[in-house]
Amino acid sequence: MSARVLVGVKRVIDYAVKIRVKPDHTGVVTDGVKHSMNPFCEIAVEEAVKLKEKKLIKEVVAVSCGPQQVQETIRTALAMGADRGIHVEVSGKDYETLGPLQVSKILAALAKKEEASLIILGKQAIDDDCNQTGQMTAALLDWPQGTFASELAFEADKLKVVREIDGGLETIKIKLPAVVTADLRLNTPRYATLPNIMKAKKKKIAMVKPADLGVDVSSRLEVLKVDEPPTRQAGVKVETVEDLVGKLKEAGRV
């Protein structure tokens, strides 16, 4: 199989960090805060590398959009087993307003350029929780999509995807080329080992600009305000049922 897989990896604030809203309410504090690869993107990379180890696909290409720092994220993907990386340079205001629509246009353009037959993405990013990029990419390419995948298998010329849905599990078969988004139970990502991190330093990361791909990254969305969730109010203990009913009436609940 000479298949090439494109894996999208996003650099996000590390899941263990306590998020703080900026004093001007335009966003969250990112300066000096630990960043790492989006956990669902880790699962996507792991799945792609597993497919390569099973010799079902030929090459894994890790893609990330953003400023210089996203190269760290691409290097992590390379340490996990990806073969090469593509850094799509987006910085400054464009990076602050970069969202699923622009990223999906970039991925669609890259998929065509790289002649990829499979795109694996995380189902959503833990910073914006959009859960849109995979679906938009498939639509732009007019490719089938297997989202929320908890199991992936090649069957002849098709892809069998088991999807996690509200009612349980749904199994679909889709033709290649296709877009798959990874859900939590698809696999357990491997830890990058020191020898592999060393090897990853020698792997290539190509740089490309959105304009080179014919993509306009200006955003049609404007963030008006970012707020923390309201702090939880302390509860009130009441002594009798009458008190309870009284309080409920006061709050307009009965």
Binding site: A16, S36, M37, A79, R190, A192, T193, L194, P195, N196
Partner: protein, 497 residues
Amino acid sequence: MTLFRHLVRITSPRLPFICGSSRRFSAKTAAVERVVSSFRSVTGDEGVSVGSAVREQHGRDESVHRCRPPDVVVFPRSVEEVSALAKICHHYRLPIIPFGTGTGLEGGVSALQGGVCFSLRKMEQVVDLHQEDFDVTVEPGVTRKSLNSYLRDTGLWFPVDPGADASLCGMAATSASGTNAVRYGTMRENVLNLEVVLADGTILHTAGKGRRPRKTAAGYNLTNLFVGSEGTLGIITKATLRLYGVPESMVSAVCSFPSVQSAVDSTVQILQAGVPIARIEFLDDVMINACNRFNNLSYAVTPTLFLEFHGSSKSMEEQVSVTEEITRDNGGSDFAWAEDEETRSRLWKARHDAWYAAMALRPGCKAYSTDVCVPISRLPQIIVETKADLISNNITGPIAGHVGDGNFHCLIVLDPNDPDEVQRVHSFTERLARRALAMDGTCTGEHGIGLGKRALLREELGPLAIEVMKGLKASLDPRNLMNPGKLLELTQTNTEQ
């Protein structure tokens, strides 16, 4: 408002403040109320709690010792706050009990004389990571699993893995160990430097501020004095730890043996063969039976070894084949091994669930773990004698052990409401500890002395060593405020100074 619920059993009758319980209650209560407002001025209102639920949570750990709540719980956010709070406690002569994750097994956080519990969970920064130097400095709120998660992109890890997801500074305080001590050592070998706040608020850097050479010959080893001191010498507010590279490859294996002797002989020979084995765990037949029942497995009900190898993928095959040959030569059978993560987890599931499998033998009962450690060559004898003791006293005690270190645990399951059983178990644990001491071993390989083994410590070390320890304690904590009654016997608090 009475903050005390329990009268503390005092060993010495000469303490000045104990004449009449009511006078003592009111003296202590007034002192505590005075200090609470001083505490609040250091930490802010949210940093001090006198709520009974919070105090009870901070008066117990995961041992069988009953809850002994402190009078106040404080939540400092920095070493400066810890120091300021300690100064206040020092002035008012209030006991200080450091609290990490409360996952200890020896009653180390019980506030025997009330006092102030310093919960350090708000200090949770990974302060300084030096990847090329393989070291990292952490605050007490960082647990071992959260550190390894933080390190996951670096190819480094901290391998000491006691059962609980414990605070790393807490692990330093109890000299914790884990299942891979045979390859990576315990906390004693892996702490390079500590920042400690003493009872009078002094901030001490045991190896010098910020220093982290991989080895040193500079002066008394103060770092290791505090490792294992169980909060009796100072409050650990930072620990600099030694990191290791994540192994490229891991292989797990299981093997059954006809006898304890053959399992231990295999262990010794594997170590002698120079196989850099990472984990070698022993489960006796009672434990295997419990695991089979708990997990619907079908291991042969006989002494079993669970092994794990770490290394490069090339070295795995050699390590496994050398080990397999040794086990076969010792009568081992059903040697099974796996490299991929899912099968490895399945193979080791029995060992991972041992604690729960033991408890499932008698639902509704409590579990207590013994912790003796002997030279490896004495392991077969001590296990055989211990099993005979368990059987003749009708005690449920499946055995799981870190056989590569000569350390094993009887996971005793007992009904706490049956005084006869409680007494039998208590006598059994004393006999077991003495059996280990008679074999040149120790009464505690990993869990520490805490409340329950103070007398055994005296037997183990001898009165002279205890006197030296008391001298060190008196030098660092003359008012005996640091976690009184742990490790060393409770002594008279010197209120005259």
